[in-house]
């Protein structure tokens, strides 16, 4: 149920009480179950504040990049600290205002201070001609700015930090050295980021825009970490397919990430982790529908079991699977079940390809059946899966062009028909409500 449904429900409750449909305690209970969101804080105002902070911060960095070498070292270093101290004073002022401080002031202060920290360490390294890599600079910058997330409860700092940490991991994925200097440290940094978010907002879900920034960032960071972990294995092909299997575990963890009941009822586009997890899992299932991939995945599976990094992503995936069972998230569990397909590769190519095809067909049917039984599901995705499977197999087959053409037309018509049926059903259910 979306927030607009909650608004409607709250508007109806007084009338239902007056009409004697509901008692006062029952109305209160409904209000608790379907709470109203706090009044909006003006997205435009926040965006303008963030944009202003970005422009001011970028301007300061550009001014410092001019390199005022006629001024002398002490003055230049003093100039490096001036924006930092001013931004710290602004943040202090915002914090002292407590709850009365408008949200956009928090975002502005957090972002300005973050940029000022970056400018300060950049000018120090400019004055002393320090070398070092951009990834080292980025990590120091992010770690110094990250505490502003719980202190100012700034979404902008959360967004910048999640992107910066993922960028660090991607930039560090080919680095050779001890594990904490490579992308393998990303899961630890991610836990730090999540701890900071928890200190700031508790279990409250981030706003949708932040989700769409954070989720792809986290996926990229974990992907980079998996790449480094798997590159330990010298055999290129073994590495590649082992890597694909680790990414599948990451996708399952994202897909089945536990949500509150309200979170589960939100529309799909508000849950980027589910969208990305679903896309990966289905792509993986399609790979498994080709018998040729069986040998490589079977080898990768043997390496996966001995790889410690598999536990880092495998244990959360397993825990989330258990929670998904508990909350009866059957549609998502059906999608995540593609993880089991590589096991059939141990039985040989024939089992593997067959299992992949049967799984995709069963998944498509299950998504349609679950929806018809009133469960949360994605029937159009189910139909799309069946259609794609039939078309792919027809394209691969040795059938003549006439047979292929006719089958394409039949599948296309069936798909259009099913889409029309769903459209009519949704329309009639809306009219009834």
């Amino acid at each position: 149920m979306s927030s607009s449904h909650h608004d409607w429900l709250h508007q109806q409750l007084p009338r239902w009480q007056t009409d004697g449909i509901l008692s006062a305690p029952a109305a209160e209970r409904i209000k608790e179950l379907y709470p109203l969101e706090k009044p909006g804080v003006g997205l435009g105002q926040i965006l303008l504040g963030v944009l202003g902070a970005l422009l001011v911060g970028s301007g300061v960095i550009t001014l410092l990049a001019h390199n005022w070498d006629s001024l002398g070292r002490a003055v230049r270093l003093g100039l490096a600290f001036a924006p930092l101290l001013l931004s710290q004073l602004l943040s202090l002022w915002v914090m002292r205002r407590g709850e009365t401080a408008q949200l956009w002031w928090r975002e502005l202060a957090g972002l300005l201070q973050t940029l000022a920290v970056g400018a300060c360490i950049a000018i120090v390294s400019q004055v002393y001609h320090l070398g070092g890599t951009w990834t080292e600079f980025l990590l120091v910058w992010t770690l110094l700015s990250l505490p502003l997330l719980p202190l100012l409860r700034s979404h902008a700092v959360a967004a910048v930090s999640s992107v910066a940490l993922a960028t660090w991991a991607v930039g560090r994925n080919s680095f050779q050295g001890v594990w904490y200097e490579t992308a393998m440290a990303y899961p630890v940094l991610l836990l730090l980021l999540l701890a900071c978010w928890y200190l700031a907002h508790g279990w409250k879900a981030p706003p949708v825009m932040l989700r769409w920034i954070a989720v792809p960032s986290i996926a990229a960071g974990l992907g980079a970490a998996a790449d480094v972990a798997c590159s330990v294995h010298k055999n290129y092909w073994q590495h590649e397919h082992h890597f694909v299997l680790v990414l599948q575990l990451v996708a399952v963890a994202m897909l089945l990430f536990p949500l509150t009941r309200r979170g589960r009822e939100e529309t799909t586009w508000k849950k980027p982790h589910q969208i990305l997890g679903t896309l990966w899992c289905i792509g993986f299932a399609f790979i498994c529908s080709y018998a040729e991939a069986a040998d490589h995945l079977a080898k990768g599976l043997r390496t996966l079991i001995t790889e410690p990094f598999s536990l880092v992503v495998g244990l959360p995936a397993l825990a989330f699977t258990w929670l998904a069972f508990k909350h009866q998230r059957w549609a998502l569990l059906a999608i995540a079940a593609s993880t089991l397909l590589p096991i059939t590769a141990l039985g040989g190519e024939i089992f593997f390809g067959l299992a992949g095809n049967l799984y995709l067909l069963a998944l498509g049917v299950a998504l349609i059946v679950l929806d018809s039984k009133g469960q949360l599901s994605a029937p159009r995705l189910g139909a799309l899966l069946i259609a794609s499977l039939v078309l792919t197999r027809m394209a691969d087959s040795d059938l003549g062009l006439i047979a292929k053409g006719i089958s394409f037309i039949v599948v296309g018509l069936a798909f259009i028909g099913f889409n029309l049926h769903l459209g009519r059903r949704n329309k009639s259910s809306q009219a009834l409500s």
């Binding site: 390199n67 120090v124 002393y128 202190l151």
Partner: protein, 178 residues
């Protein structure tokens, strides 16, 4: 307003200042008390969006045979000739107990990377450095990096050409133009 968040903010603010201040203290000490060494180098002119224009500093004597793996930090022991130019003698993972040495990072083959790779310039001087370098790339004049070294920490102090500071040389060329 509760006191704890304010105290936490104060701690964070102090750390944000202390990290760059600690670097400043360390490098100032090296510049003040460190031994001067010279390194011959090549210097083309790229750009860093955060820190502005700089000359890429690539000292020439960079290789010394050892089996230390790529990416590992190591200590290179240096010897100076009569003109003060440094060359590497040996490289090891353990910090030498005495003598002239600098911390470096092992790169490809027998090469190693110094902890500095750039000399930042004012954006007005940087294009002049481009021109100067194009004109002098084949001449006998070489760019010398003047580096201060103290307890293994090396800081690039200046770049010079025939004993003249690079900045001064470029400023003179710029002023001489109509």
């Amino acid at each position: 307003m509760k006191a704890l968040p304010l105290v936490a903010f104060a701690v964070v603010a102090v750390i944000q200042c202390l990290v760059p201040l600690a670097s400043i203290g360390k490098y100032e000490q090296v510049l003040e008390k460190g031994q001067l060494i010279k390194l011959k180098c090549a210097a083309p002119d790229p750009y860093d969006p955060l820190r502005g224009r700089y000359l890429a500093v690539r000292p020439t004597p960079q290789s010394v045979v050892s089996d230390i793996e790529r990416g590992q930090r190591a200590f290179v022991t240096l010897k100076l000739d009569e003109e003060g130019f440094a060359s590497p003698v040996s490289i090891g993972l353990e910090r030498p107990k005495s003598g002239l040495y600098a911390q470096v990072e092992r790169s490809w083959g027998d090469n190693f990377d110094w902890p500095f790779d750039r000399f930042h310039l004012n954006e007005k001087l940087a294009p002049e450095a481009d021109t100067w370098f194009a004109e002098n790339i084949r001449s006998a004049k070489g760019i010398t990096a003047e580096v201060r070294v103290l307890d293994g920490t090396a800081v690039l102090a200046d770049l010079s050409v025939d004993g003249k500071p690079m900045r001064q040389l470029l400023a003179e060329r710029l002023n001489a133009k109509p």
